[in-house]
Symmetry: C2
Amino acid sequence: MNKIICEVEQKLRAGDYKLTPRREHILRVILQNKDKHLSAEEVYNLVKRRVPDVGLATVYRTLEIFQDLDVIHSIDFGDGRKRYEFGGEPGEGHHHHHLICTGCGKIIEVNEDLLEELESRVTSAYDFTITDHELKFFGYCRDCKQQKNKQP
Amino acid sequence: MNKIICEVEQKLRAGDYKLTPRREHILRVILQNKDKHLSAEEVYNLVKRRVPDVGLATVYRTLEIFQDLDVIHSIDFGDGRKRYEFGGEPGEGHHHHHLICTGCGKIIEVNEDLLEELESRVTSAYDFTITDHELKFFGYCRDCKQQKNKQP
DNA sequence: TTCTCTGCAAACAGTTTGCAATCCT
DNA sequence: AGGATTGCAAACTGTTTGCAGAGAA
């Protein structure tokens, strides 16, 4: 984890920013909750536990910087707020998709890409240079599916 | 088009709503701009041309009703407001994806689905019942690609 | 000092809601 | 009359911004 923090520090320096204590706390919270897709406010609350006097604005500003530097990126699950994932979204590899359970709101990650064929088809058919994509599946997870079957 | 309006009227009645003049105007604006992905405010402005005293709240309320009845559905292109497309999103057919140009913001529709294989893989691997999906490609359209090449 | 960073409060944008007036039957 | 519908203004939510103070080099 410290390695990651160092890398982020490099990126910040490269962009003429410093890794201040506040920013490091924010980064740590994101890293410690990699799987959670935290919203800005959730990050804020978690940071606040350790640094009670952070301001929400600082969290927003830091998240914006992190985004610009491709340290994190935002996704929208349709709940009206942005959520953040560690990792930028440069074209190469590491893509994953999300399954969003309409029943309980759970979010499951799919760590496969599998869109290459479709991408290349789109690229040539529409003369469109793809730099990124976002794929969400909506439906019911195992638990919610079972509940649905029980009720009626 | 009148046929569609009648169908919507049926749906409204079934849900204990009426097709009021206001709602009909809103519906017409949506139908006349099927390809535009209008936001609530854009719908409002267009309706206002014909019925200057509509209220924005009515547009929002109507859009919500239409959504509940699967007459329209909303998409999020990441510009901070919901946009609406005619047509519900029930599992069957008619799916399409969107190409979003990072350069000019243009939105191109891809009228192919092509996700069946991926869907079935996800369904079995994660025990997740898919009811819908949403796929967006980000990148540069032909025009913006050319401009990028010229500038440097 | 000088320049970044920060907290606070105010401003914003999109959307929702309470309420009284209006419409329709 | 009675219930749905509407416009208006106010409220709300998530996010951004102006500013003056704090902090670091």
